[in-house]
Every structure is written in structure tokens, then in C-alpha cells.
């Protein structure tokens, strides 16, 4: 009976897109049916230990009944973007209320490796309106692993670091049926959020399903102005299944379907009518391999992303256009550990094949004129094959990690039309290009009682992104220029040094952390005054170039103090700086920023007051479309309470963000679109164990 119910709801998954209301009904029906069969098993807290040696951060996203840390999140049903932004190391570039773009160490998409459970996914939007993080939701995830610089090279070639979004799985825990329903609302944008999960897990088999639906209207900025075109609607369903084939062998599969419609981008001239992703994988896990190898994990995956930009809701546009984009990725990885004396080795083979295609059709105001068509991503096929190896050597009280990634990346301009288009700019351009990517890193960690030191040096490089190498008249509304890719770009390289000193005693923890990137052949768009803008109203055309070198500095200080066992204070202060070889400021570099919070957690009750802000932006660059961003400080409050109902739990969270309704925008806000004003929110979660 149970399996029937579980299977039934699972089978509904693929049809959710068409019959959403039905499906949600069925899921909830299944959920409540399941209550009767729920088993009384204690909730196990997931404690995914990470190597201390990794500089980085784990952002816990998991639902509250799985991880107590969830309570720490001010707004449990906030978007993944808000979760990521709450971390002190990640910033988010905003073009609207939805699909923010993560920034780590002053670097965004093309310089980062963003993966979902190790799977490479590439957005299908030429204008970066769909970062990978927009195709999952908090309902899918247990945590986000953020690793800085080459410490993130395990996931892929990167400069700035890696963000790996870990899917939430029951993982053969003997819990039987369990689930939860959650609902949330927000005042500023009338957001309605409904979610639920239903899971069955025993030692032989697990099936996890979840669903989340969000709908938000335009939000209101501080002082009361409505931000037009900031609405969005999205839903996401996912399922994970695992079979234990034998004692030490497991077969797993995951599937995620994510779809957003009617997404407004107030900072951009276009909105999005559809952003859709199918993400699936099959995995094999074996405790041992050939005797001495352990934890052999292999995964095959595929994903398909469709992104359709739309300007039909905008009353005044110089020209109507359609801009669909597609990105399909097929990949695999296989990793295994080996422990030999003081050595802990990790070997990983991985590869992916990506196809990126995007086109633009513009409709002249004169209906008798032919539409104007171009390929903005000319069907680029990228094949990347890599090997990654790391060795963590334990000494007494300290350890050394050596790691390397070597990759071969081949790109192919598959479309003849697109190749001819690019050859307008690069007459001798060849269809194929092969690049070799290298990364080596050395990281040292030592424990000196209350103090801990962690430092390293590394070298890494990356291939230009599809837009950087092959983009064709991609309009960037931030600096109001069209961008042309450059297939002749050199790989961008970075020499990186990082250091972190931590102090910890019973009550106080202080981390002081800094890193420096010496970027060689830094890729950025530079104005080519000989070229004529394509987009009506654009100021000109930029071509991606390699700057000889650039410098990026990031410094942060985190502190935590337990005033009372129940009362904790945290504070963070960060400083970033980025300049090129000529001393010009690089864009999207944070001014001095700070945050502080006081949190009270006493059993079932929690409350927090938090503050964050930034100083006036001093180092900015109008050449890249930046203007000075003013200082701001905003405050938030939240209160949470857990109620036990039989063996089930009800969790209620109330709060208000931007308490004083400050009108502000940050350096990451595209075209200074103001942030949300005062916003009351409420979340109700009911977990059935």
C-alpha cells in the first residue's frame, strides 16, 4: 500500500508541468495518506563533515526537520538566492527579484564552477538571466558547498571557486514514511509559497519527492515605490530514488524539473516567459573498489535548459524581439578515494558535452519588412574531459593538501550560419579549438591550540565562456553596450594566495581571512570604437579582450561570540578590491560591507535581530557602467517557534526585513534597481515523522 502511494506520486512527476494543480493535489493527498503510516523514527541530523582544510563555507538549506541549522535561516522558505546571499562569502548580482547570479571572490558565472550534486549545468540565457542556481530550489537541497579559488577545482575548471549544490536525500536512513508541508507569504511582493515533501526510506530503498511553488507580484522598494516587472512564478518538482543492490553497492537516480514563467527583470529591457530545466542523473556507489580503493562513486547525468526571453509585456520598446536559448549538457564523473598511511587520495575523472544555442529575431516596426535574425550563440559544442587528483597528507596537528586538475576542452562552432557570422569579425577563425586547462594547488593547515592557520597558493586557468568566445551582439544593459565574443582569447589564468587565521575558545570564534588573485589575461569587454552598435540605443560595441593582468583582493573577518548559551552574536566585515594592470577599477567589486546579528535560540523558541550594510562605494568604474552606490544599513527581525503535535512538529516563523523601509540599492543591483522595502514574512512548516 505504501509503495503504491509512493510510486503513484512519483509517476506523476513528469506531468506536473501540464497539470500542475492536479498534481499538487495528488501529492498532498498522498502526503496525508502517508501520515497514517508514518513510523516513529527519530530524526537524524545530517552532519556532513567537511575537511577543515577547505577554505569555504557550507550554507545549510535543508528543511528544518532534517537539520537544526535550518532554524538559523531568518526566512526558511526564502529563495535559494537569499540563502546564498546570507553567506558572508557569496554576493548576488540582481537583475530583478528572481534568478540572481552568484559572485564569489569578486567573480561570477564564467569564473566559477556551479554544480548541482557535481553535475555541470549551463544556463541557456545569453544575458545571464538564468544562473544554474535558478534551476533548483531550497526544497531540493540540503546544502551549498562553497569553496574558494582552486579549492573548488574538484568540481570543474574555475578561477573564483566552486558552488556545489547538494541535493537532499534520505540516503537509506530507516525512517519509513515522512514528509512535510510548508507555506509562506511575504508582504512586499505578495509572495505565496507552497511546498511539500514526501519521502520513504529504509535501509534497502529510498524515494524522496518534493515540490515547491512560488508566485510573487511586483515588490515595493523602500519608501513605497512599486518596482514594475519584478514579478515571477516558478515551480520545481524533484525525485530521488536509491536502491541498495548489495551491502556495499547502491544505485541512485535523481530527477529535477524546474519551470519559471512570467519572470520580470526590472533592470533589463526584456522579461522571461519561460525558463525551464530538466535535470537527471543515475549514480552508482560502491564502498570499495579493487580492495584498497573506497567510496567509488560514478554518476551519469543529462540536463536540458530552455530559456525564452520576452518583451511582450513592455509597452515601449524600440523593436520587438524573440530571444530563445537552449543549453543541453551530458556528463559523467567517477571518483574514488584511497587511504594509504598518512595520505588520503581522491581521484576523479569527469567530462561533459554541452551544446549552447541562442538566437534572436527582431521584428521591424514596418510589418512589410522581413524579420531580422541572428544567432547569438552559434550552436557551440563544448567537450571537456578532465582528471582531478588530490592528496591530503596528515602530519601531527597539521595537514597538507596537494591537488591538480588537468582538462582538455574542445569547442566546435556547429552551425554554418553562426560560423559565417563570426567570420565577419574573425575571417580566419577555425571551427574547432582545443584548449588545455591546468590547475595546481597547495594548501596547508595547522592547528595550534586555540589558533588555526590555513594557507595556500595555487595556479589555475579557465577557458572563455560561450559568450566570451562566441557571443554575437549580446546586449549588456548594465554598461549599455553590445558584446562580441572573441574566439582568439587566451585562457584566463590566476595565481592565487590565501590565508586564514582562526581563533576559537569556549565563547569566541574569530576568523580572519584573505586572498589575492593575480589574474593573467583577465577577460573583459573593451570598447571598440570602430564598431557600430546593433541594439537600438546602445552606446557602442565591446569586444572581449585579455587584459595583461589584474589584481583581486578579498579580505573578511568573521566573529562569533556566545554571550549566553542561548544568545549568540555574530559579526562580519568584508573588503574587496579589484584593479587591472593600469590601475582601473574592475566592475562588480564590493565596497566595504558589514553585517551583525544577535540570535536567541532556546529550545523551541528562536529570535534574531540582524543588521547588514555597506559603505559608500569608493572604487567604481563608469567605463563598465558603474556609478557610485551609496552607503546603506538595513535591519531585520525574526521570531520562530516550534510546536510539537504528537510526533509531528509545527514550525512557525515570522519576521520583518528592512524594518525601517530604507530605500537602497547595492553595488550588485543591475542599473541601481532598488531593493525590497519593508517586508513582513511568515512561514509555517509542518513535518510528519
Amino acid at each position: 500500500m505504501r509503495i503504491v502511494i509512493g510510486g503513484g506520486s512519483h509517476c506523476q512527476m513528469p506531468t506536473f508541468q501540464k497539470r500542475f494543480p492536479y498534481s499538487i493535489g495528488i501529492l498532498f493527498y498522498a502526503l496525508f495518506m502517508a501520515i497514517g503510516y508514518s513510523q516513529d523514527v527519530k530524526v537524524e541530523t545530517i552532519s556532513d563533515s567537511i575537511l577543515l582544510i577547505n577554505l569555504g563555507e557550507v550554507i545549510v538549506i535543508s528543511s528544518f526537520n532534517k537539520a537544526l541549522e535550518h532554524n538559523a535561516q531568518n526566512k526558511p522558505l526564502s529563495t535559494l538566492d537569499e540563502y546564498l546571499e546570507s553567506s558572508s562569502v557569496v554576493n548576488m548580482i540582481k537583475r530583478g527579484a528572481y534568478a540572481w547570479e552568484p559572485v564569489l571572490n569578486d567573480m561570477s558565472s564564467e569564473r566559477l564552477s556551479v554544480t548541482i550534486d557535481g553535475m555541470r549545468v549551463f544556463g541557456a540565457c545569453t544575458d545571464k538571466m538564468d544562473p544554474v542556481t535558478s534551476y533548483v530550489d531550497v526544497s531540493n537541497l540540503s546544502e551549498a558547498h562553497v569553496t574558494s579559488g582552486q579549492q573548488g577545482a574538484e568540481q570543474g575548471s574555475t578561477i573564483g571557486g566552486a558552488i556545489d549544490l547538494k541535493l537532499e536525500k534520505s540516503n537509506f536512513k530507516p525512517k519509513g514514511w515522512y514528509g512535510s508541508v510548508e507555506a509562506g507569504g511575504e508582504s512586499s511582493n505578495a509572495a505565496r509559497i507552497f511546498g511539500g515533501e514526501l519521502n520513504y526510506s529504509n535501509s534497502e530503498f529510498y524515494l524522496d519527492t518534493d515540490i515547491i511553488y512560488r508566485k510573487a507580484d511586483n515588490y515595493t522598494a523602500g519608501g513605497g515605490g512599486e518596482i514594475e516587472y519584478s514579478q515571477f512564478e516558478k515551480y520545481n518538482v524533484s525525485a530521488n530514488v536509491g536502491f541498495r543492490v548489495s551491502d556495499d553497492r547502491k544505485l541512485t537516480a535523481t530527477f529535477i524539473f524546474d519551470e519559471a514563467r512570467d519572470v520580470g527583470y526590472p533592470a533589463l529591457p526584456m522579461d522571461v516567459s519561460l525558463a525551464q530545466a530538466y535535470i537527471g542523473s543515475v549514480g552508482w556507489f560502491q564502498d570499495t573498489l579493487f580492495g584498497s580503493f573506497t567510496d567509488w562513486e560514478t554518476k551519469l547525468y543529462a540536463n536540458k535548459v530552455t530559456h525564452v526571453m520576452d518583451d511582450s509585456k513592455r509597452p515601449d520598446v524600440p523593436i520587438r524581439m524573440d530571444m530563445p536559448g537552449w543549453s543541453d549538457t551530458y556528463g559523467y564523473f567517477s571518483r574514488v578515494n584511497l587511504r594509504q598511511g598518512a595520505h588520503r587520495l581522491l581521484l576523479k575523472l569527469d567530462g561533459y558535452y554541452n551544446r549552447s544555442l541562442a538566437e534572436m529575431t527582431m521584428y521591424p516596426n514596418d510589418p512589410d519588412e522581413s524579420p531580422m535574425f541572428m544567432l547569438t550563440w552559434p550552436d557551440i559544442r563544448t567537450l571537456n574531459s578532465a582528471i582531478y587528483a588530490e592528496d591530503v597528507i596528515d602530519f601531527k596537528g597539521s595537514s597538507l593538501k596537494l591537488s591538480t586538475r588537468l582538462a582538455v576542452q574542445n569547442s566546435n562552432v556547429a552551425d554554418e550560419f553562426g560560423l559565417s557570422s563570426l567570420r565577419i569579425f574573425y575571417p580566419d577563425m577555425s571551427r574547432h579549438k582545443t584548449r588545455f586547462l591546468k590547475s595546481v594547488a597547495l594548501q596547508y593547515n595547522t592547528d595550534m591550540g586555540a589558533y588555526q592557520f590555513n594557507g595556500g597558493i595555487s595556479y589555475g586557468d579557465r577557458a572563455p565562456s560561450v559568450s566570451e568566445a562566441f557571443g554575437f551582439y549580446l546586449f549588456n544593459s548594465f554598461d549599455n553596450h553590445d558584446y562580441i565574443g572573441n574566439p582568439n582569447l587566451e585562457n584566463e589564468k590566476a595565481l592565487e594566495a590565501n590565508a586564514k587565521i582562526s581563533f576559537k575558545d569556549e565563547k569566541l570564534t574569530i576568523d580572519l581571512e584573505g586572498n589575492y588573485f593575480y589574474m593573467i589575461d583577465y577577460i573583459i569587454g573593451e570598447v571598440d570604437p570602430t564598431l557600430s552598435a546593433m541594439t537600438i540605443g546602445a552606446d557602442g560595441v565591446k569586444i572581449y579582450k585579455n587584459l595583461d593582468h589584474a589584481h583581486l583582493y578579498n579580505i573578511s573577518c568573521n566573529a562569533e561570540y556566545d554571550i549566553l548559551p542561548e544568545l549568540k552574536w555574530t559579526g562580519v566585515l568584508t573588503y574587496h578590491r579589484g584593479v587591472d594592470g593600469d590601475g582601473r577599477n574592475l566592475p562588480f567589486i564590493s565596497p566595504l560591507a558589514y553585517g551583525s546579528s544577535i540570535r536567541y535560540v532556546d529550545g523551541k523558541f528562536s529570535g534574531s535581530i540582524s543588521m547588514r550594510g555597506a559603505g559608500k562605494q569608493v572604487d567604481y568604474n563608469p567605463d563598465f557602467g558603474e556609478d557610485q552606490t551609496d552607503a546603506y544599513t538595513v535591519f531585520s527581525l525574526s521570531l520562530g517557534r516550534t510546536f510539537s503535535i504528537n510526533s509531528n512538529e509545527l514550525y512557525l516563523k515570522l519576521g520583518v526585513e528592512n524594518v525601517f523601509d530604507e530605500y537602497y540599492s547595492t553595488y550588485t543591483d543591475w542599473k541601481n534597481i532598488p531593493r525590497m522595502g519593508r517586508n513582513f514574512f511568515m512561514t509555517v512548516s509542518y513535518s510528519i515523522n
Binding site: 522581413s370 531580422m372 535574425f373 541572428m374 575571417p427 546593433m534 540605443g537
Partner: protein
């Protein structure tokens, strides 16, 4: 005409018959060498039928590459080795004038004569083109004339410019036919000087500046165009035209004389959106 069609039908049927058979040797090649062309008109006189063919399906304002055959109606055969010349003449209310054209030459030995004519204007209800073909067969001179229907290109786009240069000469500038693509296209044109109402001479060693624009896209232009220069071999002005997208393009032109003085056409600037000399294309 009817016999031609009949003949054509027979040829097609027999050729298809042969091509279906296993026998893949020769035989069929007696068919119409202009089968892939459209016969635009036939001039009948002197028991000859002069058939004029073109790739396009009408006489078009601009450059027309034409092929013709002279059929002896008595023997039903095509005449090789004739000397052929032509004189297209525009009959206007006040005057008559001709247009730039090549001489007519027989290419190969298949009794096909080829040449080109650049019609600088279309006919209308009161003004019309008349084609006169003079030909000599075996020392005997013949002449045939017929009114032609010359139309604007089906897309109504400008492919020829007639202008008076700053040197007070009249010129005719015609774009060579092309299939535009989103790419760097080979682009060429022919420039003629009007020596008299009936005489036109090709102009050598001038220069033609090109500036392609999309009026619907804020006058967007493309990079890496190559201005047209005179090419001795083809006797045309050749260059490169970059088109960054499909749609409607205006190729603004400036004609320079041998000392690079502008004879006609204006530079496109923010203030001046278009030149008075231009070609158009849409794809």
C-alpha cells in the same frame, strides 16, 4: 513556341527514359543547354525565332544576364556562328535612350549567345523598352525587334543608380546579382558612363565606397566591409559586404573618380542617415 515545348517535352521524356535505363553512356546531351533558364521572350522575324533566356523570370531593372538562341524556323535548328549585337531602347515621351550592355558573344559551340543588359528604369503605360537584335548569318544581315516588359525587381529593391556626378557626367551604377548571407559576402558592381543617349562606356579605376546600414536598427552598420575597387579581369568593381543579420539592408554608396574626388554620394553620419546613392537588399 509550341514546337519548342513539344521538343522540350520529348527531350525530357527521352532523357528520363534513358536515365532510368542501365545505359549510362552519352546520347541525351542533345537537350536544351538553357533548360534551367526561363525563356523571357522570343523575337520573331526573317523566319527566325530569337529566344531570350535569363535565370530570373522577368526583365528586371538593374543587371540582367541574358542568353539567346536563334532558331531557324525552316530547319528547326539553332544557328551557330552568327554575329549578334543588340540595342535596347527606351521610348519615352520626349526622347529615346539606350542602356549599358555588353556585346553579345557565342560561348562554346552550342549555339547560345550571351551578354548582359543593365536596364536603368522600368517601363510603364506610356514608356517602354524595345529590344532590337541585329545579326549576321553567312554574310546576310538581319534585324529583329520587340517590345520588352521591364519591371522593378519582385522585391522592389533598388539595384541600379543613375546619377549626374560632380563632373557633370551621367553615370549608371548597377549592383551585380548576389544571394546575401549573414557573412562576409563578395560584392560587386558595374559602373558606366553615359557618353550619349545610345552609347555607354565602362568606367575604369574609379572607387566605390560602401556603407551598409539597417534603417530599422537605428542605422546599425557592419564591420570589415571592403570598398569596391576596379578589377581588370572581371571589369567590375569588387569588394566585400558584411551583413550581420538577415533583414532589410541599405548599402550606401559614394562614387569616387580616379583622383578620389567624390562624384556622387554622401557619407553616412549621425546627422545624415543615408546617401543619395544606394543599393537595397532584403533577405
Amino acid at each position: 513556341m509550341k514546337t519548342f515545348k513539344l521538343l522540350l517535352a520529348i527531350i525530357i521524356i527521352t532523357s528520363s527514359f534513358f536515365s532510368c535505363s542501365d545505359d549510362n553512356d552519352d546520347v541525351i546531351m542533345d537537350e536544351n543547354p538553357l533548360a534551367e533558364f526561363t525563356m523571357l521572350t522570343t523575337l520573331t522575324a526573317n523566319s527566325h525565332a530569337i529566344e531570350i533566356y535569363a535565370e530570373q523570370d522577368q526583365f528586371t531593372v538593374g543587371y540582367n544576364e541574358l542568353s539567346l538562341r536563334i532558331k531557324d524556323n525552316d530547319t528547326n535548328s539553332y544557328i551557330s556562328g552568327a554575329e549578334v549585337s543588340w540595342m535596347p531602347l527606351m521610348h519615352m515621351a520626349e526622347m529615346q535612350h539606350s542602356c549599358p550592355r555588353s556585346s553579345v558573344l557565342q560561348g562554346g559551340d552550342d549555339a547560345v549567345y550571351t551578354g548582359f543588359v543593365i536596364f536603368q528604369m522600368a517601363g510603364n503605360e506610356t514608356e517602354y523598352w524595345e529590344m532590337t537584335i541585329n545579326y549576321t548569318i553567312g554574310g546576310v544581315e538581319y534585324s529583329a525587334s520587340k517590345e520588352l516588359e521591364v519591371n522593378m525587381p519582385s522585391d522592389n529593391k533598388r539595384r541600379v543608380n543613375v546619377f549626374t556626378g560632380s563632373d557633370d557626367s551621367r553615370y549608371i551604377l548597377a549592383m551585380m546579382p548576389m544571394e546575401p548571407e549573414v557573412a562576409v559576402n563578395d560584392f560587386s558592381a558595374m559602373l558606366y558612363k553615359m557618353d550619349s543617349m545610345k552609347a555607354f562606356s565602362p568606367v575604369r579605376d574609379y572607387g566605390i565606397l560602401i556603407d551598409p546600414r539597417m534603417p530599422s536598427m537605428g542605422n546599425h552598420t557592419s564591420p570589415n566591409n571592403v570598398d569596391l575597387t576596379y578589377d581588370e579581369v572581371s571589369t567590375m568593381y569588387t569588394g566585400k559586404l558584411s551583413l550581420t543579420m538577415t533583414g532589410y539592408w541599405v548599402v550606401n554608396l559614394q562614387v569616387l573618380n580616379a583622383t578620389s574626388e567624390v562624384l556622387k554620394g554622401e557619407e553616412v553620419t549621425d546627422e545624415n542617415e543615408a546617401s543619395s546613392l544606394f543599393f537595397e537588399m532584403e533577405f
